[in-house]
Symmetry: none
Subunit: 203 residues, 4 copies
DNA sequence: CATGAATGAGCCTTCATTCAT
DNA sequence: AATGAATGAAGGCTCATTCAT
């Protein structure tokens, strides 16, 4: 904020960001266990010690990254939910935002949908549960709006419908990605939407 | 001669089974990377070298385990698909069999649904893909039967419907399990069934 | 010796021989440390336990093999030395016998010439030294005969000449073999003979 | 700036040297397979991980050591060959340099003369062959000079004479050393020289 | 005699983490 | 803030050897 700070070539924040980006790329490419601090530091173009100056541990770095990514996804989804759109189109955009996230951050996507990675600390799980709950509430909110507006059934528990929704989305998302096929996100979204709205029953 | 054999206290097969069970438990509890051969050997009550007598590597052991479990699941699902039941009840049993499997073998369930674990050999991935395809074909068969019988919609691609089905099931299955909540499998099955058949649309 | 013994399909000696042959092949192909008891047992077509019935340890087996091979080589050389041939022809045959041995048993050849393998017991070294001395004495005897017959110089210490002789032979032998070139043993022998007899000096 | 650097107590290079020395001692004492990374690290007074900071593997370390030692030996021999000395004295110094090397680095000497160690990577063998060829060429050059100068016979193939020379030298060198006798290198050199120049023939 | 399952010490290597500079 | 050398616990795996059958 001071004039002096602005003269720095590498304001601290910039280094932290570089590390975060490198971590995203590396974790994304290799997964948590295969990604090493050495790889991440190299990718970021800094020394290993520097990574430890900004993050106390590998887990801390991973958590930081997750927080970062999930916050973005959450913001996107929230934007959709709070926008003044009619329920079904809103649902479509909602699914689209999810799939888009999965297609960009496949491994992180998996983590979100499965609830974590083995062998991490309780703190990690706590954070994950917090996020899980936040997303759940958003899902429920989306469904509730639709029910209130008369677009969705009111004979089912909103929470359950929300759960199925997130289930389908994350499953399709991560499965697709692992097929390494180039997915047509829009088409996939429409498919999910159709099934989720009307079911596969012939009547 | 055969009678004599039965008197053996520890036929080799028994040891292999002990190891397989220990592996199931350990991989299930810790995940692939956190599970160590030492832990598995201890759990099985044998020396580390013994594990390597039956399996050439950690990956080989894991693959053996996976093959074992997936073969069982596949057999169960196949039984359902080929049984002379009406489509919707058949679908219910199908979902039930999946959820039952997930609730027993949570980590293996994840692997099946998400397609793998980072850092393993190409052979592993090849095997996984083979299984994935086998299950896919079974799912499609189930849907096709329903469509033919007039129970399911015929305006959607069978493969797509099958994909959504397996997506919902595996997502619900593994998500639930990670919540560590005691799940009412029957209830969960009915929920999925309802949504999948009729959709959440109010009409 | 008894009639009963002769009826056996596999007299003990036969099994022992099979193992010895397998050991020769395996040690020869892989060297001492790379050769495993498993490989040897497989090559011999017997169970690992059987190898341990005839030989108390890997080292013991190796020693047995060495004794076997060296005894044969020794017998051949002795035959040459004690035969009634004129000194220079005798020397030629002597070198030939050495090179022939090296070309057949490259690894054992190395062991003989360099005096052993690291990491074995004192007993092993003791045996090796015994053999070394035996061969040395034979070499000296050969040289002495030639000196006495007036064919070789008498102004040099016989022991030293013998040492140089064995040096040249073993070095040429093993070096050649490692080149993996098909060696013309006869030609090589003549070359060594020429240099060893007349030197390379121009006068 | 450079002055400042010199104040460092432990410049990285020093650690690498400590490890190289420890490796030389340990490989020399135990041979390649018996020498363990643990022993080497202990001998060097560093942690095992530190060895891996400087060398990517045991083989890499061994190769580094070999390269180091052979480069020195080669430099010494080259000095002799290119010096303006008369052929026979040159030959004497050449032999002396070889024996001196063998007496200091017995195991490495063996490796040079025998052409390798079992069970290493193709890269290792390739390097060894390169060195072998370099030394061969030097040997041939030495002989050629002597022939040109009229000091050595011209009725024999230079390459063959060179081969016998290196054979005698390495054999005598390594054999002697293994006897663990204190060798009089000068005397040994003269012996080899005499035999190699004049032969043992009485005429 | 022969088998082969079982053992366990020990090896090479990896990698998250620390710390002097 | 940043570096990178140094650490050491831990992991997967090998293989000589034993022993109940």
């Amino acid at each position: 904020m001071t004039a002096q700070r602005d003269l720095c070539h590498n304001p601290p924040e910039e280094t932290k960001l570089k590390i975060l980006e490198a971590a995203a790329k590396t974790f994304g490419e290799y997964g948590y266990h295969q990604a090493t601090m050495t790889k991440i530091a190299e990718e970021a173009g800094v020394a290993k010690g520097t990574v430890y100056w900004y993050f106390t541990s590998k887990e801390d770095l991973f958590l930081g990254l997750l927080d970062n990514s999930l916050a973005k996804l959450y913001a996107n989804l929230e934007l959709v939910v709070t926008s003044p759109t009619e329920p079904i189109e809103k649902l479509r955009r909602f699914i689209l935002a999810y799939l888009d996230f999965f297609s960009r951050q496949s491994h992180l996507g998996q983590i979100l949908s499965r609830g974590g990675i083995e062998g991490l600390s309780p703190e990690f799980y706590h954070k994950m549960i917090e996020w899980h709950d936040k997303f759940d509430r958003l899902n429920v909110e989306l469904i509730s709006q639709g029910v209130k507006a008369g677009a969705f059934r009111n004979d089912l528990d909103n929470k359950h419908m929300a759960k199925v929704l997130s289930g389908v989305v994350s499953a399709i998302g991560s499965t697709q990605i692992l097929n390494l096929a180039e997915i047509d996100i829009e088409a996939e979204t429409d498919l999910i939407l159709t099934v989720f709205l009307d079911g596969i029953s012939s009547k």
